[in-house]
């Protein structure tokens, strides 16, 4: 170790870190959480079935919007402008890459996977294993600067998900509706708490006093932004729960509990 904390002029300490707490636990849990979600989302996105409950109008967010002629009748709330798709293309392929991009370039997730997956650094004051470091100055990581464009698309997808949840209400009210609505509310909260949204709402201004409405918007987004990490994890959970519930009802494994 001749660079970093082992550089010649620094205090001669051979240990990578002298931390005595369980600094390795948060990156481990983050890795497990991210891996579990990616595995579940990948399997479900390519499954191609049990994504639509015709009787109650439940459509899982993983397949929304469903725009292909391969989609089950009734699940295409915005028509079927696309032809039949081969089985290896997920039916939600229009939105999924952008949602993935939105999360991948999210300032919170960046922190999470830089620390856990890339170990750069694994924890504060714990030396990272890499010999060199260029941050977000070069390809591919310079693309992180496009976060705001993914945010714009994520806003549209949130509108689509909201429409799906509202349309489902025309079939009555069941536990599935409550799950869809909860998921949509939390997705909106996560999307609007985004750092790019905070900047666009008013963060880029120099003089708040000249723009009271945008200042108000910035203040509200700032309040949400404080919870961005919590919302990032909560929405991963609600996405899985929502999809799982729709899958179980659609497959007939469980029946939806109807309120009226």
């Amino acid at each position: 170790m001749t660079s970093g904390v082992g550089a010649p002029t620094r205090a001669s300490i051979s240990a990578r870190t002298l931390r005595t707490d369980r600094w390795w636990l948060p990156p481990l849990l983050t890795n497990l959480g991210l891996f579990a979600f990616v595995a579940y989302a990948t399997v479900r996105s390519f499954m191609g079935k049990w994504y639509w409950v015709e009787d109650y109008g439940y459509l899982t967010p993983f397949y929304s919007p469903c725009l292909s002629e391969s989609c089950l009748p009734g699940s295409s709330h915005f028509g079927t402008p696309l032809p039949e798709l081969p089985g290896w293309i997920p039916l939600g392929f229009v939105a999924l890459p952008f949602l993935l991009g939105f999360r991948l370039t999210c300032y919170y997730y960046r922190k999470a996977y830089y620390r856990s997956v890339w170990q750069s650094p694994p924890a504060c004051a714990v030396a990272e294993p890499h010999a060199s470091y260029s941050g977000e100055t070069r390809l591919p990581l310079i693309v992180q600067n496009a976060h705001r464009y993914f945010f714009y698309v994520a806003l549209l997808v949130s509108v689509v998900n909201t429409y799906d949840a509202v349309v489902a209400l025309t079939h009555g009210l069941g536990v599935g509706n409550l799950i869809l609505l909860t998921n949509v509310v939390l997705l909106w909260a996560y999307t609007l708490s985004c750092h790019s949204c905070r900047h666009i709402a008013g963060g880029r201004l120099k003089h708040f006093s000249k723009h009271p409405v945008r200042y108000r918007a910035w203040t509200l987004v700032s309040k949400l932004n404080v919870h961005h990490m919590r919302l990032a994890w909560t929405t991963l959970g609600t996405l899985v729960l929502t999809d799982l519930y729709v899958m179980l009802v659609a497959s007939g494994a469980i029946s939806d509990l109807r309120i009226f």
Binding site: P8, I13, T20, D21, N145, R148, Y215
Partner: protein, 251 residues
Amino acid sequence: MPYKAKFKVWRGDAESGELRDFLVEVNEGEVVLDIIHRLQATQAPDLAVRWNCKAGKCGSCSAEINGRPRLLCMTRMSTFTEEETVTVTPMRTFPVIRDLVTDVSFNYQKAREIPSFTPPADLAPGDYRMQQVDVQRSQEFRKCIECFLCQNTCHVVRDHEENKEAFSGPRFLMRAAELEFHPLDTADRVPSAQEDHGLGLCNITKCCTEVCPEHIAITDNALIPMKERVADRKYDPVVWLGSKIFRRSKT
């Protein structure tokens, strides 16, 4: 109840050094700096330590306690068990001078590289007028006590000595943000933050925020907003085009 605590304190200089074991008395209500002072008084009179206010406001006694960047004067002994060994080392990002004292001149050099507050040329001192709502973002950053714990923990320079030339560190990127957000500052801070002070090297892993004894939200309120402003200029063709078409000035 007083008890004897096990301490490991790094002793040495730029040539060599090692962790030395000490057994030292601890009394109720004491902080780590008190114990270091007791060591000086009883067992190691030549132990070098930088300190001043003992109140967490001067930023002098920065060090690493059990591997975590902390202020010696703000770390209570009651946070450790009586059986625990407390390890105290100098900050590991800066060149060591002796024992717990490091050479933090890297930070002074970086501070000098940031142009100072630049009010409008036609505004005389004494005529500055601004609204609270416009300066409050900058005021959060004025809480900084310049302990340099954020600079010390930032892996960009902590783990990569070669980045020290290109990267000014969170404290000084926050200084650039403080001036950029100031309603009366006319200098353009955004391009220099990216090109001269290495904002692109920051991967927002938030260690600076975690160690800040003043609890300044460095990453969320300074670094990320500056990254977004850089994105406005360098990576967002729509914003760039809008600023050209509508000739938007700083609003």
